[in-house]
C-alpha cells in the first residue's frame, strides 16, 4: 500500500537531485518536462539497487537473483496496469518508448488488418511519432491518410468527426498535444469512431504523466506512452491494448520469450518505471493535474501581459494541459531559448516534431514552456523576466 502524500512543488523538488543544479551560474529552471521529465532519487536508486543487488536476466534463471529480477520486473508491469486501470497486466506490453509502441501497432495489427483503399484518420496536432508510422504503413498497403482539422483555439473540429470517419479503419489521435497543450475528449471521440467501425489508438505520451488515465473508461483500443516523461527512465515505454486484440495480432519482433517483447528486456528501466508509478501514485494523479492547471492558468495570465506575444492553444485550463507554446513578434524562438538559457531557464524552441501543426499555425517554430510537479509559479515569473530581458537585447 502506497502512503499518500500532499503535493507541493517545494516538497517534490527535494526528491529530485537535479534541482540542486546550477546552469550558467543560476539555479536550474526546468520548463521542458514535455520533452522529458526529471527523475526523483527513488527511481535512480531503485535502478541502481537492481544493478547492485539482483542483476540477472528475468524469465529464465531458476536461481534466486533471476527470480528476484523477474518478480521486480513483473511487479512493475502490474503497477503500470493498475496505474492506467488496465483489466490485466497481460495487456501491458513494454516497449522502448511511445514511438516504438505505435510502431508495434503499425507492424503487427496494421499490416495484418489495414486494407488497400482503407483510410487512417489522424489529427493536425499529431507528433511525428503518431504520423510517420501511419504514412509509412499507408504507402506500404495502399491506404490513405486524412486529418481532422483544428480551429484557431487549437481544438479539434469535432463537428467534422462523423463525416471524416467514413471508411476509416483506424483513428490515431493524441490525448494531449505536446505543442498546444490541448487535451482532447478521447472518450467521446472513441465512441464516435467505434460507431463508424474504426479502432482507436491514442498517443498518451503527454497524458499519462500528467492526469488520471483509465484506459477502460476511455474505451479505446490501443494506448501508448513513455516512461521517461513520467519520472521514469528512458528506454521503457508501454503499449496497452485490449487482451482480445493482442491475442489476435501477429508477433512484432521474432526472438526469445514473448510475442511482442522478444529478447532480454530493459529490466532496470522497467523496474525504474514501476518506482516512478509508485512515486506519482503517492500524490495522486488528480493532484498532479490540478497542480499543473494552477501553473497553466498563471502562465497564460502572465505571458498574456508580454508585449508582442502570441500564445497558442486553448485559453481554458480545463482543456489545456501543462504545456504552453508562444511566439514573440521580433525574436525567433531559438534566439529566445538561447537567451533565457543564460538565466538558467530551459525551454524548448522548434517545431516540437509537429510540422503539420506548425503549418496550420503558420509558423516555423514556437517556444514551449512545460510544467510538472516540481515547478513553482515563481519559475513562470522568471521566464517572463527572461523574455523581457531578451526583448531588451532585440529592441
Amino acid at each position: 500500500m502506497i502512503q499518500t502524500r500532499p503535493l507541493t512543488a517545494e516538497a517534490a523538488r527535494a526528491d529530485f537531485p537535479i534541482m540542486e543544479r546550477r546552469v550558467n551560474g543560476k539555479p536550474l529552471v526546468y520548463l521542458d518536462s514535455a520533452a522529458t521529465s526529471q527523475k526523483p532519487a527513488v527511481v535512480i536508486d531503485t535502478m541502481d539497487d537492481y544493478y547492485r543487488r539482483y542483476n540477472a536476466n528475468p524469465h529464465r534463471g531458476v536461481y534466486a537473483i533471476s527470480e528476484e529480477a523477474t518478480a521486480a520486473y513483473e511487479s512493475a508491469r502490474q503497477r503500470v496496469a493498475t496505474f492506467i486501470h488496465a483489466a490485466s497486466p497481460k495487456e501491458v506490453i513494454f516497449t522502448r518508448n511511445t514511438t516504438e509502441a505505435i510502431n508495434l501497432v503499425r507492424y503487427s495489427w496494421g499490416r495484418a488488418n489495414i486494407r488497400p483503399g482503407a483510410r487512417i484518420l489522424l489529427t493536425e496536432m499529431e507528433h511525428h511519432s503518431n504520423l510517420v508510422p501511419w504514412q509509412l504503413l499507408a504507402q506500404e498497403v495502399q491506404a490513405t491518410l486524412s486529418f481532422l482539422c483544428i480551429d484557431d483555439d487549437g481544438l479539434l473540429e469535432l463537428d467534422q468527426l462523423d463525416r471524416q470517419l467514413e471508411g476509416v479503419q483506424l483513428l490515431a489521435i493524441t490525448h494531449q498535444s505536446n505543442t498546444l497543450g490541448t487535451i482532447n475528449p478521447i472518450k467521446a471521440v472513441a465512441e464516435a469512431a467505434h460507431r463508424a467501425g474504426a479502432l482507436v489508438l491514442v498517443d498518451g505520451a503527454q497524458a499519462v504523466p500528467h492526469m488520471p488515465v483509465d484506459v477502460q473508461d476511455l474505451g479505446v483500443d490501443f494506448y501508448a506512452f513513455s516512461g521517461h516523461k513520467m519520472c521514469g527512465p528512458t528506454g521503457i515505454g508501454v503499449l496497452w491494448a485490449r487482451r482480445s486484440l493482442l491475442e489476435s495480432m501477429p508477433p512484432f519482433l521474432g526472438g526469445g520469450d514473448m510475442k511482442f517483447e522478444a529478447g532480454t528486456p530493459s529490466v532496470a528501466e522497467g523496474i525504474g518505471l514501476g518506482a516512478a508509478v509508485d512515486y506519482l501514485t503517492q500524490f495522486g494523479m488528480d493532484r498532479v493535474r490540478s497542480h499543473e492547471r494552477t501553473l497553466v492558468d498563471y502562465a497564460l495570465e502572465k505571458l498574456q501581459e508580454v508585449p508582442g506575444i502570441t500564445i497558442y492553444g486553448p485559453r481554458d485550463s480545463e482543456i489545456h494541459g501543462g504545456a504552453v507554446s508562444f511566439t514573440l513578434a521580433n525574436i525567433h524562438p531559438h534566439d529566445l531559448a538561447t537567451l533565457v538559457d543564460r538565466e538558467g531557464i530551459a525551454v524548448r524552441a522548434g517545431h516540437h516534431c509537429t510540422q503539420p501543426l506548425m503549418d496550420r499555425l503558420g509558423v516555423a517554430a514556437t517556444t514551449r514552456a512545460s510544467f510538472y510537479i516540481y515547478n513553482r509559479a515563481d519559475e513562470v515569473d522568471q521566464l517572463v523576466t527572461g523574455i523581457q530581458k531578451a526583448q531588451k537585447v532585440f529592441a
Binding site: H332, H334, D335, T338, L339, G350, H351, A364
Partner: protein, 127 residues
Amino acid sequence: MSDDLYREQILEHYKNPHHFGELPDADITQEGDNPLCGDVITFYLKLDDGRLGDVRFRGRGCAISQASASMLTDLIVGKPLQELKTFPTKDLLEELGIQISPARMKCATLSVNTLRVALNGDAPEED
C-alpha cells in the same frame, strides 16, 4: 571569442542585413534551409568574369542564421569563384566572433553551406 552570443555586431546585421533582397538577373539562385528549425536563406548570385560580381539574399529565421548570411555576403562579394567554392566555414565563424554551441551550429553555417551548394551544385561539405 566573445561569450556574448548576441553581441552588437550580430544584432546589427540581423536588424539591418547587408545585401538583403533579390537580383532579378541572378545567374544562380539557391535556397537552403534547416528543416529542424525552419531557418531559410535564398542566395542570388551574379557572376562576373570568374568572380562573384554581386550578391543578395533573402531569408527568415533566428538572428544567428540571418546575421551569418549578412556577414557572409560582405566576405564573398567580388571574390574569385574558385576561392568561394571552398570557402572555409571557420572564416565565417571567426567573423561571427562568438562561441556557437553544437545545437546552434546549423544556424551559424546555413549560409556558407548554401553558398557551397550554389557554387558546387552538390551537398555541403561537412566540417
